[in-house]
């Protein structure tokens, strides 16, 4: 149930400023603490929210986690990535 692990990762980032800072410092290192396959790790590390949504992750969490990492000015970029084909 990897989509659940993606949700755990996004929830952790979204609810803890310290975890969000860890993610900003090293996304590649950050994703290693979660039970994800290689493709999912890439998706999480690059915050490919459209891809994570297709994998079944909650869009509430994707939005919350993305904004925690990128700040309130990140909404436009979030929508661009969500609509990426």
């Amino acid at each position: 149930m990897s989509s659940y692990a993606l949700e755990k990762a996004m929830w952790t980032v979204g609810t803890s400023p310290a975890e969000a800072e860890k993610f900003r410092q090293s996304p590649v290192a950050y994703v290693e603490q979660f039970n994800l396959d290689a493709d999912e790790k890439v998706s999480l590390a690059t915050l490919a929210v459209g891809d994570m949504a297709k994998r079944g992750a909650s869009t509430l969490l994707l939005l919350m986690g993305f904004m925690a990492v990128n700040g309130p000015s990140g909404m436009g970029e979030y929508m661009r990535r969500m609509n990426q084909k």
């Binding site: 659940y4 755990k8 609810t15 929210v49 869009t59 939005l63 969500m82």
Partner: protein
Amino acid sequence: MAALVGGFLMPHDPFMSAAPHVAPKEKVDNTMASFGQIEARIRELAADTIIIIGDDHYCIFGPHCIPRCLIAIGDVEGPVEDWLNIPRGPIANHPELACHILERGYDEGIDWAFAKALSIDHAIAVPHHLAVRSNPTLRTIPIYLNAAVAPVIRSQRAYAIGQSIRRAIDSWPGDERVVVFGTGGISHWVGTAEMGRVNEEFDQRILRLVEQGDIDALLALTDAEILEQGGNGAFELKNWICAMGVMGKLKAETIGYEAVPEWICGCGFAEIKEAA
């Protein structure tokens, strides 16, 4: 005996407090006037206790635990979000009545989760801030239904929980005057590729059904239909349905409606009253 003296349905859109200015002024003014009308009606009704039914947005519960229905029976504080422009602090609960609702529900097969010390999110905080806070004599009982994280609570169960809450109010020996809020919705798409879309036609259909007190039609809406027509945020209609269960056979008057893409939401308000 305690008495249910009123009920209201309203949005809990966080943009209303966090960034009202991003919407056209007329829509902001009309929305705040709707909250003002509810605030005034609560005073007219001489209410002393408000039950606010909302849903968490992965702000206070996480993938490790998502309660289907939860009642706060002790300390309440919040909101947890620091960007709402709402001061964080304690909110007065009514622990005795909350415990009675819990115990009555247990007797009736409602498997409540409960919180002895709850930090609330915007689902409770925004309606409290805009319609309750100005009257410091009011006590607030927060109730959370899972109307946000799939699989969401069934509408029929939300209604049954509301009916159980009502029986608890009616059997409480105190002389409290209780008002219920159903919060959230109407149409909105949260975090999806369609975020910013508002389906005004769906929203008006819902408000007409509420005005008619047509709970059967609301319960007949499938989750697939709600999702397709109203977006993932429209599952919050289940909070409204629960409040309608508290009221029982009802009539309603729409207080206001604004489609506000800037707030990513169709914002509907209604007062629900017992039908004769």
